[in-house]
């Protein structure tokens, strides 16, 4: 059951079971001192009941046993400690790795829907929550349950009437706690939502810090941020109050029972049907028994709260993965789109598109923004699957090819270059993990990176900061081209950088791209129409449809959309301030 609730691995559920067993054992060893205390008290009170002088040697004996029990408990506690934390941390490590691995397999569309804050909260926060749940809550809850039931059973055998008095309110409090579950969960969910919103707002505030500074929106002046903090404060207080409103009466009910024990005990005692010793025993137990029960009651709401994390984790796991065959070899690199339609959500953005992209040539996708040219390239890479129609490469339907396998045939140069907080060499080596230093150096030279890398403090071993913040845009672009060169895939998907860099940098990038496209099948999303003048084929898209197709000359002569865009652009390039 637990395995399912938390989606544990086999190893994880095994070690959780071990942890629970250890916890139960240590809880049971905690009962021994209690029994010994009882014996000691009886020995102590014996002289008062006319049993002669105090038997000190028996007292010493019990004390000795008490020490033994204490040591036993100490050992059991140590074992429990090891087991619970080992189980929790090991399992959460694999959980985190697993979530990260899982994310990698999800289609990019998933990342379109969820934003950064939520994703990272997912990995880190939920894992931590489950970690806490596994190390503290679950074993302790189960152990307490076992102890309570065990005591309950033993006492019932001893004297059922007194046990009834002691436990009569227990079902009521449980009912109160478990009955209010849905209400508690509702507030829990509201609280989680508020927390996520505050986190998202904070992330946005930090990312937009320049705007925040330049427009004087510090702290409380950012209304959305302040609001989200405000809502979170309120939701937190509500959650505490709601939980308290149920746990409090439940606890009170329980405590009333300790009075019941006295009343019933005295009644039975004076009636003569209860001896001194059982009365004494029950009175003593009534002082101790509510501890574990209260623990159970306070852990229960926390446990419910945790389930939200577990649930969210499951939604992530339930996201459909992309599948396909692993051992497909593509025969050639002719790409064909046949009657393809696609929408990111309900609204369709690509309508019934049919295009052939011949291998070993340059095919350009052009069109105004929103025309679908980027979408088409993403579909070819199978970042998304088409809704209708087929895309084939070398005659194979890419829907049937495992995305990882498909990627082996493609390199990308995206316009938003993502770099990692690692060395330059490792950032290039992302293209092919087992590349030698020489190979890295070779592609770096081809991609015109070598020159600037040499000027960095530690050359190729220089660590570039978070998302490569220490190097310039043009340099980043060239690193991403070096990656693609290193990968050496037959198909190159190129999203022409829309950013204009300083002219020298630009010339270098252009040289690097010329190296990359040599002898490959190239699909380029062009923003500067001039760039694709020499392309073998230009596909002009508008609103998700092909409106024109042909070589540059043909299209210019046709005087259609392409020609119009080309002319506006040439004019824009000539624009100047103050002119």
């Amino acid at each position: 059951m637990l395995k399912k609730a938390f989606r544990l691995s086999d190893e994880g559920s095994k070690s959780l079971n071990r942890a629970i067993v250890a916890c139960v054992i240590s809880n049971i060893t905690l009962l021994f001192p209690f029994a010994i205390v009882l014996m000691i008290l009886l020995t102590l009170l014996e002289p008062l009941m006319g049993g002669g002088p105090l038997d000190t040697s028996r007292l010493w004996l019990w004390t000795g046993l008490g020490v033994l029990a204490a040591v036993l408990y100490g050992v059991a506690y140590g074992v429990e400690y090891d087991k619970t934390y080992t189980a929790a941390y090991k399992e959460c490590e694999s959980l985190r790795v697993d979530v990260a691995e899982r994310m990698r397999r999800l289609p990019l569309s998933f990342f379109n829907r969820k934003d950064l804050a939520e994703l990272t909260t997912n990995i880190m926060g939920d894992c931590a929550t489950i970690e806490h749940c596994m190390s503290h809550i679950v074993p302790s809850m189960i152990a307490n349950c076992v102890t309570i039931s065990l005591t309950c059973l033993l006492l019932a055998v001893y004297d059922w009437r007194m046990s009834l008095a002691m436990f009569c309110t227990f079902p009521l409090s449980l009912l109160l706690i478990f009955g209010s579950r849905s209400i508690q969960r509702r507030f829990s969910e509201r609280h989680m939502k508020a927390k996520l919103e505050a986190s998202t707002q904070m992330q946005e505030y930090l990312e937009g810090i320049k705007v925040v500074k330049a427009f004087g929106l510090e702290g409380e002046k950012s209304r959305a941020l302040k609001n989200s903090f405000d809502v979170m404060k309120k939701e937190s207080i509500y959650l505490e109050a709601v939980i308290g409103a149920f746990v409090l009466p439940a606890q009170m009910l329980l405590r009333v029972a300790s009075g019941m024990v006295v009343l019933v005990g005295v009644y039975l005692f004076t009636g003569g049907s209860l001896g001194v010793i059982p009365l004494l025993t029950f009175l003593l137990i009534s002082l101790r028994i509510y501890g574990p029960v209260t623990t159970l009651l306070t852990l229960a709401p926390e446990f419910f709260h945790m389930q939200i994390s577990a649930k969210r984790m499951q939604t992530l796991r339930r996201e459909p993965e992309m599948s396909g065959q692993n051992h497909v070899e593509l025969e050639d690199c002719n790409v064909a789109l046949h009657e393809v339609s696609f929408g990111y959500n309900e609204a369709e953005v690509i309508h019934n598109l049919t295009v052939d992209i011949p291998q070993n040539g340059v095919t350009a996708l052009v069109g105004p923004s929103g025309s679908g040219k980027s979408t088409v390239s993403r579909l070819i890479a199978r970042f998304w699957d088409t809704d209708f129609g087929d895309i084939t490469i070398g005659g194979k339907r890419i829907k049937e090819v495992d995305p990882e396998q498909l990627m082996k045939y493609m390199s990308f140069v995206f316009q938003d270059v993502v770099l990692f907080n690692d060395t330059v060499a490792n950032n290039i080596r992302l293209g092919r993990q087992n590349a030698t230093d020489e190979e890295v150096l070779r592609v770096a030279k081809l991609a015109r990176c070598d020159e600037f890398v040499q000027t960095l403090p530690q050359g190729y071993d220089t660590v570039i900061g978070e998302n490569g913040c220490t190097i310039s845009g043009g340099e980043r672009q060239r690193i991403s081209i070096a990656r693609a060169l290193l990968k050496d895939a037959p198909i190159v998907l190129l999203d022409e950088a829309t950013a204009s860099l300083d002219p020298e940098n630009e010339v270098l990038i252009q040289e690097a791209i010329n190296e990359l496209v040599k002898g490959r099948t190239v699909i380029v999303i062009a923003h500067r129409l001039r760039t694709v003048a020499g392309a073998d084929k230009i596909v002009v898209l508008d609103e998700g449809k092909v409106v024109e197709m042909g070589t540059g000359e043909e299209l210019l002569q046709k005087n259609g959309l392409f020609a119009r865009l080309y002319n506006i652009q040439q004019e824009s390039f000539g624009w100047s301030v103050g002119a």
Binding site: L54, W62, F111, T120, I123, F229, V276, L280, F420, V507
Partner: protein, 614 residues
Amino acid sequence: MDTRKEKSPKRKKGMARLLQLTCYKRGLVILSCILSAISTVISFVPFIAIYFVLRELLAHLSDLSALDTAVMIRWGWVAAGSAVAAVAVNFGALMASHVAAFNTLYQLKLEFTNHIAKLPLGFHTQNSSGKLRKIADENIEKLESFIAHQLPDLAGSLAAPLCILVILFVVDWRLGLASLVPVVIGYIALAKGYGGKRAKFFVQKYNTSLEDMNNASVEYVRGISVVKAFNQTIFSFRKFYETIRHYTEYVYSYTISFKWPMAIFMVVINNIYLFIVPMAIWLSGSVTDYGTFALSVLFYILFSFAMTAPFMKLMYVSSGAMQVSEGISRLDEILDTPPLSETASPKHPRGHDVVFDKVSFSYNAEGEHEALRNVSFTAQEGQITALVGPSGSGKSTLAHLIPRFYDVDEGQLRIGGVDVREMAYEELMQQVSFVFQDVFLFKQSIFENIRIGSPHATRDEVEQAARAAQCHDFIEKLPKGYDTIIGAEGVHLSGGERQRLVIARAILKNTPIIVLDEATAFADPENEHRIQKAFEKLMRGKTVIIIAHRLATVRGADKIVVMDDGVVAETGRHDSLLAQKGRYARMWESYTSAIGWTITEKDRFAEKEVPAHA
């Protein structure tokens, strides 16, 4: 501006600092502590009540008919009633403490966000957003457990030994002393475990590794598209994987380091009777009234049960407080980073000239690698001044000095004759507006996004600005028009449209000086054209400083400042600079060749040569 902070630069550390942070809601915090202490004291009452029941019972063991059942039943009610009362009072304590806690977190978060916005921009490039967000999300949040739980618990568990001390003198001081011994041992074990240097070291390691893991996860998620494209498995992502491993390693060794202190504590606190019984045996040899003696032993043993609960709480206080205090010290590190100074007696600018006077600036504190060296030029009122140069030449740095994202190291930056550092920040913002190239829009309505330029603008004014920036048409086409939330499902704005929204913001703000970082990104041709129209509207009649990336853009500027490696290389108008055949002329040459580039070596538009010259 928070002057309180500047006057007390030395911040308290550890527990003292945590207590200091309760200042936002001190009354509630004190109330919750008092209630918690009362609740703890009340929670002892049932034990005492049961004791009285037993005493009554034992006193009449030999003659049960003399037993006063009314007394026993009365004590039974007292036991039940006080147990319920303890729970109720404790609930009161917790409610008070939670309200105090959440209000404190709220204030602290505002103070934190406020403060980081006042720090130089360099702070933000050095501190990842993941790290800063973690401080708000986790470190500050942890204070909740301190104020809401640990502080009242501490008050409660301190009330317990006080109670014991009182009772110690009331009943039998020798047995009382014996029951205090385990308490002292427990305290020592905890202090050894949580107070030692080793523990502190572990907490720091733990926090650092947690931070690393957070940063790595942000990076991982951001890079997911690349991961997919290059077939990299999680394991090849050494970084993320390793931070996870490190975290596990530290959190594990950190936890395990408390194993034995915890075990000792738990054993001792659950076996207080083992200290009382030997003392009782020793004393029993010399007692005269055995009945009274047995009763007081009984009392202490009962009472030892009562002591377990508050001491268990104490354990959580010590482990929790240490973690919270480490988290808060990370917050304090940031709160202690000095913000850009603000002048006490602000001066008012006259006119709108922007003058860079022998400005030098370096991004690192040691003053190495100066980004700007001795830069002087004037952007004259009502004129367009363009900054050009290769990337890294310092042109963006110059622009960043104007809104005081950084302050100059040497020299002066004057607006209307006044050093920007001597101007009130609000006034500076009323003088200058900025259009940065990294367009940032908040996930709020379009209306709100434009209105950032002028928070009190009416709907009409916003719409006018949007029209001027060529935004109105596309906004009207969106599902909810101006109330469309950016980033909402199904709303997609192109780069060009986003840029125009940002220009609308600046148009609405309508300041005499405009700093423009020309967008480096090409929008599609039609968008591009509209952006240029929007720019023309924005610049009309203003003092403009423009960082130009496309050289064609600045041919008509009144003054072109050519930057190279942090110094001014050339100044002049387009024609005169070309005639000089220097740096600018060479850049122009590269520019014209870059713009004529084609991806393949053939060029089918050869007859349509490069853009028209001015």
